[in-house]
Symmetry: D3
Subunit: 340 residues, 6 copies
């Protein structure tokens, strides 16, 4: 069968370091035909650097000229919606950066259009590709966890407010620690509960450190321009009584530089994701199972491959358009609870 | 001034191992004049063993005979209310075991009667006496934490359903992991927020492991008679936007045998209780402060002493009747949310 | 049913510290009626110390006077055979110290007489009562190990030649490290292979350090009187191709003070005994299973109880007379190979 | 003196990564004049890549054309014998990959021909070049170990069946874990005993995991085509009563990914190879000696240099033709015992 | 030979806990005949408690009545001189607590009188009895250290100003950290240099923390009454160019609660005392030797026994009168340098 | 403002690896115009390799031709004085390698000439640029240490006599471990005391290992040509009673390969430099403060930048000419004391 023709929308570092290398590694399946960025010179430079034939400042022109059937949307959050809609309308499968959009209704429209067009829309939530997550899913399937009823999901940075880009700009990003970090572990937690929709949500957001300033471990930020939450705490309760405690922060007075983890508690066993451990009973005794030889994988490469598998109609564990719409809705409800 | 005359109500192990030794250590302040237990022979045996003059099966008779002015109420949860009320009516200061009562309205009545009588009613929440908690309170007072806005409070046992007593009996205990374990760390968390009353609570309770059975690290329990929650997860949000994540379990598929801890996050610093660590900025750098030489204390002795200080009108950090009423109300609202 | 009447033969420290306390702990099942030692005053002292009614220097007199139905034989190795035979002839069940005897033919005779009399003869190989060994047996039964095909059994001391008793005296002990230490782990290894009889054995014994002298970690020994092996290395191959590597030493230039362990390798999993770990595959990955909460048990108490269970016709994991005969035969063949 | 002229026989990865780089590092002593591989194009590519003047598919032609005086035989096991014999007949010194050959009689013929021709034949057993082994030999020479009487030699992989090449093919390799891994530590153990010939050998081989399949840490293998042993256990007893316990595995349910080590027990001291530790007595106390500053060396480079030293008549610690013949004989006797 | 008759002078805790138990353990060599304390009731109580026949408030009377031939002087520092002189004049061997005296001339007089009388005068510097120190001396004798040319001697406490006794009283103690702690490690360091007399000394003393106050790990002290040094730093240079760096503190802002150690540097090897390690070269490599099995000893018992050995004319490693005089002289010169 | 024009004097590895890369990294401030080495071909090669326009064998010619205004003096110790004087006379600011000179009077002359000419003369003591040192200085400024009264300064190598260059040549280097290593930590210690001049110094130097030979961890050295001290121990006492214990070695029988550290003891707190820890009291308890996130910096780059800052009249923490003169004087007094 013919190879996919992929266009990259967005000329930033995530295109350069993540998506383009992944696609080039999958060159038996896909060719990159164009890069498109509002700043045409950035598009040009990126195309030259990676040997991509075309560069555009205008997406419409790109569609006319190159007729891609796959689009990688790696624009800022605020542009996820318009550029994904345009791509779908141009009959392209889309792999869109996270979060899905700024608003829940946008993510739903995106999912609806993809369904209507019979196209794949997927989100780049790559933690699903870690060996640890895949092992957790296998343990779940094998029954080693039983029914999962509680999850603690953390993505905490002590002083990790990014000192570059739009990360502290509410208009461009739509939010802070939850939008940027929390969605990763929230997506995993929802997966563990089969993407059920929460019945109730109670949450709070904070911005004390962001607005005060301090030592930065990811560059310096300007407290004057800090418009988003530096921490978000949320509790989600589900119709079947399962629950999630979610903690996300750009800045928090906590021990570790970074604490990104998931703890899952089920009727037969519990598990911690990093390093992967299983807590259960075996031969009548309490058993702690460690897996020392999990493979180190390139999670971007695997997620891009999983997206292409989906486009080819194969089984795939990529985050779907429908899941993305639920995820965005949950994010919106968390912010709503925090502002009540 | 004359010594206090103390009566012990309840003839179980907590009287024998905790309260009587503590009072005997404070013999310059207090004499134990009587032990009272519905099972008169238990009262007799305890009195003989500890050289206490009187033993009673009937409390009313005890009050008539001995006229104590201090009562230690170490009966099962369901009897905290009636025996405390009776003691107050007999003009005794009361140190009552936790939880305050089975229902919020009981704890409020108890507080009201104590106030009306001008008596001290206090609860035996001894974690307040740990060196770590006192240090946390000093750090809070000194401003080393700034304003506290989030707390994670855990009291988790992996397989610690007590295989004796009434711990799994709903009628006698009123609940399970929350009533027995959770109240300890919930009390500390509420203290850290100056015992504010939560605006919103969302919670869930579980009983999967308790009702299924398995390895017991605190004796064996009978799954058929397991009537309470083996785990309780709750989120509390306060009028000033502060929040508490509370996790308590008798049984959970988690790593450690026991995980009893508090993490406190403030605008100037964060702290973990056991071992006590402070996470903050110092001289422009991120600083982790450890305190290796904290004194190991007898927390029961210190709590009993703190109660007597209160009776003497001195400053005291013991849990007050009013705080106990709030604590009981929060417990009741957590259960209510879990049953919604 | 009536209690057993037990007589102790041998007045040494193992009677005093191990067997008598265990029997006293089982006083609902058994009464100790007599102590017998060639040194009558030792017998007398031991009886007085433990409140045992009778003491004898002559065993025949003891049988006449007290008519016990249970005998604990805790004499030196060389007396295991005659006193056990006498006890069986006096219609007593016998728990005999290890090793079973000095020679294989003795152990076989002892087993034959017990069978003929319908009496229980068991050996005091208490490592079978450790929580770790019981867990290993459960794992074997559950299939978590598959078929076991190789075992490494070690009981190594770096400088642990006992500086007291008969441990270095060939006539009294029959041998050194193998007779005293090796039999413990050899018994476990043979159990793991269902007490199959080896097809071939190749072995060596050494006495370099014992005959030279040096630092003693268990008292000082006299190199001039060192008549036994200080180390024994053996390889056992079984009809089904399974194999055991056995290493035992009183003295060896090795790292640890004491290294007493068993590693078991099976088709589905492998296990190490101390601390108990299971090495296997789970959910498609290599898994290391740790059991942090194994109970600490009094292995002498459990072994004595297991012996009494056997006497009562109940299931029991105590080392049987038939197993003891095989064990002694293997020991004899190891020595024979070493002297070839 | 003139430089050696070396020819490489065998065009695989071990030529490319090990032998050719080592020879190039020793360019003041030797020039590589030719590469020879049955697959002429592989020879050509390798020659081009490394700037070697000639490439041949036919060895005879190579000898005629290039007249080398040194040959590196890095062919598959089955070809060690014919190509080494041919090289010796062409008056070349030979460094041959391990194991020496498939059969003991081949290795003896090779040694005989080398002796008759006055040529050096050596085997590439590079562990002899580790700093640890050289230190062990110095300790042995200095008397710090006394007489060595027992050795435990392990080369165990948990799941390390190579998923490439001929490693599971009996015809090409002659065996599995023993042939590929075991010979390395067996060679060291025999060296430690001055390459004495064992008086007795008892051994077993297994192939349960290899024939069943499972997780592979060195690529995937096909259980259907697994024809060799995945584990080999052996005991060697020597005329002077010394003994070796040898354990080698491609796959075994054991803790570590790889456990390659030697423990040596002598009358004055014992030693463990990795990390090097000496266990002995000093100043009347038990002493553990650690050597933290051993040099990290390129063992292939050192072994090739040692071979060239031998060719130049200098002292050398390379494995000699005579040692190789003994080693092969021991391997053959191990397999014979396992098949008895 | 007849047993020694010992009298105890001084009724404090060091008599009660150290010296009397040691003497009682040596009851085959010595009987305690009397206790003498200026506070007669203390003497009486101590005598009764330990079953000692006589108690006195007046030493002269004690000598008349009991005629001891051994005296243990465990009075405060200021009384070491007068009571030791009196004991010698009464023809008693004397074991005197450290430091020898308050002034160098006193210690010299004491040594002179002992010499003149032919009596043993020894000081209770018990660190000489640790297994580690004895091993160091053996290593020195065996030549494993070569010539020792530098020593770092530390006895540092972070906040260890004793909150009881006379420790902060200059008149009674003569000094602080040096007098109480420093002398122990100074004695060892001087021993290591064969008790040579320093050619030059440069030193400083401090009292900042002692006079300011703070957290006390050995009870609370009164900064107002702190009259001695809380830290003393000194450098000693010897005629043969060897040197000692001495650091002693009651209070210092340093890491460990207590750091009591000696590092010795010689031409052939260096050693650290606790835990004992030897740093040297062996077999041409840098070697770190650890001794994991050193015996835990009762250093007071061993020092008392060593004193009695000296009294019996046997070899003994106890600190002699002459060494004590040098030690006191060095202490005096250190204080003199600090006050220059 | 115009860029500086820098000339490099000295063509060794420290020019190549440290100074030239640092200057190139600061190319917005400075151009390298020339390299000058007595060995003209070395100068030429270095210039070519780094793209520097000019190379000279004669410094006078260099000054005439290139007219630099900045000179980096990286010649051997013996040439620090003449080349720095020449550079100052040619009106250049100078960054001179450490130690300042061979003799104290030289360093004073250098400082005097720099002052007279109004030029910057600074020394390349780069440890001042570590994050740890800068943090220590901030703690000192903030009062977290109080008054510093004692410092232990160590720069110890176990076997680190450099096997190259002039390091063991007295004439070229002026000394050994003190001149090469000790000056680094001595400079820091003096800084911590505000570069006070010591009132008294007592010191010793040793050369036992250097003159005997042994294992070398930094190459092999020739004991026959070892003319300097391999170890230097010194004690410095200051007018305000503060003290420094300084230990420096090329070779010493000590534990660690390298031990380079500073411990600082003050009235309010103490600190250890690597890893940076602060020991103090906080909230009434003893507190150990760790700083886990200190930045890893290029200390040469920072020191060169600090030197240029000084040349530009900006604040700078570089070691000044006046400090260098004091440092050299202290070094000279240490050697004088050692030779007394």
């Amino acid at each position: 069968m013919p190879k996919f023709k992929a266009a990259i929308i967005g000329g930033g570092s995530i295109a350069d370091k993540n998506h383009i290398p992944a696609l080039k590694n999958l060159s038996d399946l896909v060719d990159i035909v164009a890069v498109c960025s509002r700043d045409g010179s950035k598009a040009r430079a990126l195309a030259d650097q990676h040997g991509i034939p075309h560069a555009f400042a205008d997406a419409a022109e790109m569609y006319r000229t190159c007729q891609p059937n796959v689009v990688i949307n790696c624009t800022p959050n605020t542009l996820h919606y318009p550029f994904t809609m345009q791509a779908l309308e141009n009959n392209c499968h889309v792999l869109c950066e996270k979060p899905p959009a700024l608003h829940a209704h946008q993510a739903r429209e995106m999912a609806d259009l993809a369904a209507q067009k019979g196209l794949i829309l997927a989100y780049n939530l790559q933690l699903r590709q870690t060996s640890e997550w895949e092992l957790l899913m296998r343990c779940k399937t094998n029954g080693q966890l039983g029914d999962i009823y509680h999850i603690k999901a953390n993505f905490l940075r002590r002083r990790g407010i990014p000192g570059w880009g739009y990360f502290t700009n509410r208009e461009m990003q739509g939010g802070g620690a939850l939008m940027d970090l929390g969605v990763h572990v929230l997506d995993l937690a929802l997966c563990a509960l089969d993407y059920a929709v929460p019945a109730n949500i109670l949450a709070n957001t904070y911005d004390f450190i962001g607005k005060t300033g301090g030592k930065g471990l990811m560059g310096s930020w300007d407290p004057q321009k800090f418009e988003v939450e530096d921490a978000c705490m949320a509790y989600l309760s589900f119709p079947n009584k399962a629950s999630i405690m979610l903690s996300a922060s750009f800045a928090l007075n906590t021990k570790a530089d970074i604490d990104r983890n998931l703890e899952v508690f089920g009727t037969q066993g519990g598990a911690k994701l990093f390093p992967f451990s299983l807590y259960t009973e075996m031969a009548g005794e309490l058993a702690d199972v460690h897996f020392s030889y999990l493979e180190d994988v390139d999670i971007q490469l695997k997620n891009t491959a999983a997206f292409l598998d989906a486009c080819l109609g194969k089984p795939s564990n990529v985050c779907t358009a429908v899941q993305g719409a639920i995820l965005q809705e949950v994010v919106e409800r968390i912010y709503a609870s925090a502002e009540r």
